[in-house]
């Protein structure tokens, strides 16, 4: 088995040469044919992944339409409110085309999607793409900021903890992460609001200042919600990273590095972190995908006009068109992120590359 003493300096024992060598004769031919096999395999890999992704999106949107249809009360009743007499509801449903069969409605919607038209919401009369493009940047900022918080905290504390497993720092951080995992977001949010916005008005109580207007005010409105999202993620990230780091630090090549006189700090940062971060990268990708559709609680608590609240609102008003738009977006985000995560493995740990892995 290959154990490079320093991943950066060891030449990669790749099937194909990494650079600039002159090849002659039979070796050249065999290398060339291997290259073409690899590129068509890569091509097939992409086609397969994308095809699978499309099928997933189709299945998910069909199930969404079916599920929303099961909920009592339709969008017509929601719009009409106190005027939702049986006649008015029937009339509005006919006007909106909601009395058509399931698959007619579905394929009508799908036909629009294929041409880039996600439809118009019967509830607010706005194009779904407009509504989503207003809401999405807020959620993306929230997710990005919370990932930065979560990763910074987890990498920092993970490395500190792994340096001396079961030491004071490790136990303390372990207790902290247990706490962060145990406290639900809907408890954490109000507590943070009370402590940092009401009792001590450091942050605003409610609302969102758009980034384009005043980035300082924007960060102030985003801080508490991002922290709320970040803390449970931090707990999971930290534990995974710590476990992987501890495991990696026990490998032979780390002993070899120590024997060569490399400092503990350099070993930790340069030698152990990258291979140990595979799981962290995987779970970060999964988290980001989940969070794009999963910030409902925090957005509701802090009244942020993001995708989460748009999602919640569309379910409450039975606004299928908007809901489907969000579902499509979240599914695509998830698929793309997972694809990127898959690709990144080869970048992070060349050993995966050398074994002809994915």
């Amino acid at each position: 088995m290959d154990h490079p003493s320093d991943l950066e300096e060891m030449p990669a024992t790749d099937v194909a040469p990494t650079g600039g060598e002159e090849l002659t004769g039979s070796r050249a031919t065999s290398v060339a044919s291997t290259r073409s096999v690899r590129s068509s395999t890569a091509g097939r890999f992409f086609v397969f992944k994308i095809g699978r992704a499309l099928l997933i999106v189709l299945a998910v949107t069909m199930v969404t339409q079916w599920l929303l249809g099961l909920a009592p009360g339709g969008v017509a009743a929601a719009i009409l409110g106190e005027n939702a007499t049986a006649e008015n509801v029937a009339e509005l449903e006919a006007t909106l085309g909601l009395d058509r069969p399931f698959f007619v409605q579905y394929f009508d919607w799908l036909g629009g999607v294929v041409t880039g038209d996600l439809g118009t919401s019967p509830v607010n009369g706005q194009a779904v793409t407009d509504r989503m493009s207003d809401a999405l940047p807020i959620t993306i900022e929230l997710v990005a900021l919370s990932m930065i918080f979560a990763l910074a905290l987890s990498i920092g504390t993970g490395m500190l903890a792994a340096r001396s497993p079961n030491g004071v720092v490790d136990r303390f951080v372990g207790w902290l992460t247990s706490g962060a995992l145990a406290v639900p977001t809907f408890v954490l949010g109000p507590v943070l609001l009370y402590a940092l916005a009401v009792q001590n008005p450091i942050f605003p109580v409610t609302g969102w200042e758009p980034l384009s207007e005043d980035w300082g005010a924007n960060l102030r409105t985003a801080f508490l919600p991002a922290l709320c999202v970040a803390l449970p993620e931090f707990a999971v990230f930290q534990r995974i990273l710590r476990a992987d780091l501890v495991g990696t630090l026990e490998e032979d090549y780390i002993d070899a590095a120590r024997a060569r006189g490399i400092s503990e700090r350099r070993i930790l940062i340069r030698h152990a972190f990258r291979p140990a971060s595979i799981s962290l990268v995987t779970i970060t990708g999964l988290s980001m995908g989940r969070l794009v559709g999963g910030t409902v609680v925090v957005e509701s608590l802090f009244v942020l006009p993001g995708l989460g609240r748009l999602l919640q609102g569309s379910i409450l008003t039975r606004d299928l068109v908007t809901l489907q738009g969000i579902v499509v977006l979240v599914a695509i985000v998830y698929v793309v992120l997972n694809l990127l995560v898959d690709l990144s493995y080869g970048l992070i740990d060349p050993r995966i590359r050398t074994r002809g892995g994915r």
């Binding site: 719009i79 409110g81 008015n88 509830v123 009369g125 004071v168 109580v205 409610t206 942020l304 993001g306």
Partner: protein, 530 residues
């Protein structure tokens, strides 16, 4: 080392826990916590011209087309009022007609023919004139089913709308109603749109509205807030006072309260009664008016078990609203008896039926002996108040034999479907709240009323409501509504819980709040005082 390392961790944990508790406990006290402030300032400060104010409301209107909005402070009222202004209001305190864009609305006969006179020279913010054609256009478009207008029923009952001259509109109703003008207080009929702009913009008008109100929409962050600047072309010159008005949306009452208390906002429209009580102790002021009638829980008289009047009477006799007051509202509310309070010209001292524990149990036993014990489901709304009231009713009824109560929660779409479309509920939270009994009492309680979800069909009740509608003198009407309450007590279709107040909670240096109808604010006079 091993045996003491856990002790060290434990000490460390305790130290951190103590620090955390201290950190949250120590904080600056709420600034400006004045003690014993009243709801009116001791000395009115001088009104400042201009200024920028932020007002919080609970929900964002789903569209900016006034035809599709309902006229209430809990829905689109505030935003629509800012953009479209008002035709007229009836002052909740003096019960007098106060002109707005309209100078008068009077019947020329027994209430079948009405004449609306408009103020001269009113223009929309795009310069086009607000005349009788505009009013006719605005009202007639509410018939379009796609707009799902809450005024559609009212406009359907207009036989004709005629623009007699640019400042006069004649409306002929299909049935006489000398108090018909009250309809406009609770419906989007107040909000007039410019015909040319609507026809040009089509569906887009709902995103980019043009009105004749005190403010013009400047910018909008959907889901968060709307910013308005003053309309320089407003008919009431010199008004509005403010240069800029921001209306922000927050469905959480406590957060809205906190936002005002830390100064992030200057006012909160439609706070709950509990928050109103806290406001006075937190240095804020409340402007409010009381309505007649009250918040109630309706029983469906068309379905078992409440198709039997004995079951209804048993429940009304068993549930004590005072207990709900204490457990849910901490004493902040008032039982709405007499149904029409003293300040109303139509007041009669007839009280609602009081709880009677023995009578209730006797009725429950009687029904059980017949093989039909009372069993039902309460359909609560998603608000915490509604759920808490439902739980209190369930808890109180649990102390009786032969009655079983379940609770279910309905979101808005389910509620509309179950209560109005299907009328398949057994008990549901609603309210009969209004300034004058017309038209609300009729809508909810007459057998032909548009919101008669209890489906009570009592000829005496119908007769009383018809008399109250058709009479113009105060004595006849007072008698009629007293009879109405008598029948209510006999038929027991509802548990009456508390009197509804329309309120706005604000900082003490804010003045000029005017509310009408379902608490919809008028922003003309809103100002800061120094």
């Amino acid at each position: 080392m091993r045996s003491t390392s856990w002790k060290r961790s434990l000490l460390l944990m305790m130290a951190v826990a103590i620090l955390a508790v201290m950190a949250t406990a120590c904080g600056d006290d709420d600034s400006g916590a004045a003690s014993g402030s009243e709801s009116t300032p001791d000395e009115p400060g001088e009104v400042e011209a201009g200024g920028e104010m932020t007002v919080i409301t609970q929900s964002e209107p789903r569209t900016l087309d006034p035809a599709s909005n309902t006229n209430a402070n809990s829905t689109g009222g505030p935003v629509m009022s800012a953009i479209f202004g008002h035709l007229f209001i009836i002052d909740p305190e003096t019960q007098e007609f106060v002109p707005g864009i309209a100078e008068s609305l009077e019947t020329t006969d027994d209430g079948t023919t009405w004449e609306l006179k408009l103020r001269d020279g009113v223009e929309f913010s795009d310069g086009s004139p607000l005349d009788s054609e505009a009013v006719k256009f605005s009202w007639e478009r509410m018939l379009d089913p796609e707009l799902a207008s809450s005024a559609r029923g009212t406009v359907t009952k207009m036989t004709s709308i005629t623009a007699v001259d640019p400042l006069t509109l004649e409306i002929v109703l299909d049935e006489p109603n000398p108090h018909w003008l009250h309809h406009l207080l609770y419906e989007p009929l107040q909000w007039i749109v410019p015909p040319a702009a609507v026809e040009a913009a089509g569906a887009d008008f709902a995103n980019d509205p043009v009105g004749a109100g005190p403010f013009i929409l400047d910018s909008r962050t959907p889901g968060s807030e709307m910013v308005f600047r003053r309309n320089p072309n407003y008919w009431d010159s010199g008004k509005p006072n403010l240069d800029e008005l921001t209306i922000s949306f927050n469905p959480d009452g406590q957060q809205a309260f906190d936002a005002v208390s830390v100064g992030q906002s200057q006012a909160f429209v439609n706070p709950s009664d509990l928050l109103v009580r806290e406001a006075e102790g937190a240095g804020m002021e409340v402007t409010q008016f009381e309505m007649i009638g009250g918040v109630n829980w309706l029983m469906n008289a068309a379905l078992p078990p409440f198709d039997d009047v004995r079951a209804r009477k048993a429940v009304v006799a068993a549930v004590d609203p005072q207990v709900i007051n204490e457990t849910v509202f901490q004493g902040a509310i008032e039982w709405p008896s007499p149904l029409i309070p003293e300040w109303s010209p139509l007041h009669d001292p007839i009280e609602l039926a009081e709880p009677d524990v023995e009578a209730a149990q006797a009725l429950f036993d009687e029904l059980a002996a017949e093989g039909t014990p009372v069993e039902f489901t309460i359909s609560a709304a998603t608000t915490s108040e509604s759920q808490a009231m439902a739980q209190s009713i369930q808890t109180q009824l649990a102390t009786f034999d032969n009655v079983t109560v379940n609770i279910e929660e309905l979101d808005a779409a389910q509620w509309a479907q179950k209560v109005f479309a299907e009328k398949s509920f057994q008990m549901v939270n609603a309210g009969t709240n209004t300034l004058d009994p017309e038209p609300v009492f009729f809508d909810w309680w007459h057998s032909s009323g548009s919101r008669n979800v209890t489906q009570l069909n009592d000829p005496d009740m119908d007769a009383a409501l018809e008399r109250g509608r058709n009479a113009t003198d105060v004595e006849t009407r007072t008698e009629a509504y007293a009879e109405f309450v008598e029948v209510l007590n006999e038929q027991a279709p509802a548990i009456w819980v508390y009197r509804k107040n329309q309120s706005v909670l604000h900082e003490p240096d804010v003045t000029g709040w005017v509310l009408y109808g379902n608490g919809t604010p008028i922003f003309d006079d809103l100002a800061f005082t120094s």
